[in-house]
């Protein structure tokens, strides 16, 4: 599959919308932008991939776009863990001849409808695990990430200031991204410290920004991609990972909850498939639903040694002049929370050379899905 498929078009809705629009409405809008970007007609789309938590509905979307013959449609489980894998499914569909042009999308009315930060009960399908946590008052992803963060702090001396450094990094990039929710709204360490406590040690700005948005991208074969409007961005490798005693974030029964085993499994498979290592990556988009999960993902993907992420990030490693510029569109802490699909299209822009926060001479661009749940990651190359 390596390099046999490419991303040819990307699109997204406004990330600062405050009026409820249906997921289908938003995804049509994002798809039309992606088609225009690629220089193709929507009628060329013959496949669709998303995550299983998406409620758009492939049939609704096909009808709205006026598509008459779809040959491939598939969903990847586990929400934000699955978005990179959805792009991987598209690449496999194209490489195997199941489809010619596959639309990958993720729509989320996270602001007006399904708040990640709310104290709503999880999807009933997850109650096998959550029946032991909800009655104790542990139900939101932030509360669970806080338990993981606390243990990381205990084992490795990670500090609140180092969590803040992750938030300040994302928000720093968002300031210069006109599409971001926090465009032109800087966050200082003082602002961070004044953010209300959500689930100690997580404060308000440790948490991603619930958004109403849809993001779309188009995948086709490397051969067809060469005739498209944009420079092709090749899908170098995609991998998935699930570790031991996996739950929808808690996985509290593992020997060490600070190890996101799913990310470690995924990393092993990804680097093997690509034939390169973390040191070869020029720019990264690390799934940032909560700041401590970025620190842990940096460790599990091998960008920094286990336990060393806090000081590394605090030293500015993720910044514009750092060793690994990361979350360059502002990520989900600064741009929008769309299960990381917005981070994947930023990874595309970095290879094209068209990001508003462009890193010079990008050859290889990395994106990861949400860690803490069964996850996925990908590498794009020029």
């Amino acid at each position: 599959m390596r390099d046999s498929a490419a991303v040819i078009g990307i699109g997204h809705t406004n990330f600062r919308n405050n009026v409820l629009r249906t997921e289908v409405r938003m995804t049509v809008e994002a798809t039309l932008v992606a088609c225009d970007d690629a220089g193709i007609q929507p009628s060329h789309i013959d496949g669709m991939c998303t995550v299983s938590t998406d409620v758009t509905g492939e049939n609704n979307l096909a009808t709205a776009l006026g598509l008459h013959s779809l040959r491939f449609f598939a969903e990847v489980p586990f929400g934000g863990g699955g978005t990179c894998a959805a792009v991987g499914l598209a690449a496999m569909a194209v490489a195997s001849g199941r489809a010619d042009t596959v639309l990958c999308y993720r729509a989320l009315n996270g602001r007006t409808r399904q708040r990640l930060g709310g104290a709503q009960l999880p999807d009933p399908r997850f109650t096998k695990d959550f029946q032991f946590y909800i009655p104790a008052g542990l139900s939101t992803p932030a509360q669970i990430a806080a338990v993981i963060a606390r243990r990381h702090m205990y084992q490795y001396g990670t500090t609140q200031r180092q969590l803040a450094a992750v938030a300040l990094n994302s928000r720093g990039y968002a300031v210069t991204n006109p599409a971001a929710r926090f465009f032109n709204i800087p966050l200082t360490l003082e602002d961070y410290a004044q953010g209300r406590m959500v689930a100690d040690p997580l404060r308000l700005y440790d948490c991603c920004v619930d958004s109403d948005a849809s993001v779309a991208l188009l995948v086709t074969s490397a051969e067809r991609a060469r005739d498209c409007k944009q420079r092709p961005v090749y899908i170098m490798a995609v991998a998935q990972g699930m570790g031991s005693r996996t739950e929808m974030m808690p996985s509290f029964s593992r020997a060490d909850i600070t190890c996101c085993e799913e990310a470690r499994e995924c990393a092993t498979a990804l680097w093997r498939m690509a034939g390169i290592g973390p040191g070869d990556v020029d720019v990264a988009q690390i799934y940032d639903h909560f700041t401590p999960m970025v620190l842990i993902a940096l460790e599990e993907y091998g960008f920094v040694a286990k336990g060393g992420s806090g000081p590394w990030v605090e030293s500015g490693a993720l910044g514009r002049d750092g060793a690994l510029p990361t979350n360059t569109s502002g990520g989900q802490l600064g741009e929008a929370y769309v299960n990381g699909m917005n981070q994947i299209i930023e990874a595309v822009r970095q290879v094209r050379g068209t990001s508003v926060n462009q890193v010079p001479d990008v050859e290889i661009s990395f994106a990861s899905g949400g860690s803490g749940v069964p996850t996925s990651a990908l590498l794009f190359r020029r």
């Binding site: 930060g117 709310g118 104290a119 009960l121 009933p124 109650t127 096998k128 695990d129 029946q131 032991f132 946590y133 909800i134 009655p135 104790a136 008052g137 542990l138 139900s139 939101t140 509360q143 806080a146 338990v147 993981i148 606390r150 243990r151 205990y154 209300r196 406590m197 959500v198 689930a199 100690d200 040690p201 997580l202 808690p250 509290f252 029964s253 909850i257």
Partner: protein, 131 residues
């Protein structure tokens, strides 16, 4: 008047745990063949297959990690409260519960605790107090 407390969505693989808790007993899924424990319970255990048993264990342990929950939280709970993951001594599995009987910010990793139960209808819900 606070909202009713959320109760677990029990299934046939887990009901033994919740019903024993109603009687003030902590039982953990146990494999007699390998003398190993598993929690949360699953329908199957490597070693004994479907022939596992519920085994009563002492409810003592140490706080492995925790958070102090502030709003937003489920409306049944008065914030702030400490919710902890506890390493149980004998079964060597982790059990989640609130830690009560002290200020939430006095909870520490490593703190010794003992399980207690709230009775809610047909089931018991575990929580911890300092030992």
């Amino acid at each position: 008047m606070r909202t009713e407390r959320p109760i677990p969505q029990i299934d046939p693989d887990t009901e033994g745990f919740w019903h024993a808790a109603r009687e003030g007993r902590l039982v953990i899924q146990h494999c007699p063949a390998t003398d190993s424990y598993q929690h949360p319970p699953q329908p199957f255990m490597p070693g004994c297959g479907f022939n596992w048993e519920w085994k009563e264990v002492p409810g003592t342990g140490a706080v492995y990690s925790f958070t102090i929950v502030h709003p937003p939280a489920h409306p049944a709970f008065e914030t702030p409260y400490a919710a902890a993951v506890v390493d149980l001594d004998e079964a060597r599995v982790r059990l989640v519960g609130q830690v009560r009987g002290l200020a939430p910010d006095a909870v520490e990793i490593g703190m010794r605790v003992k399980v207690q139960f709230d009775v809610v209808g047909e089931i018991g819900i575990p929580y911890f107090v300092p030992l």
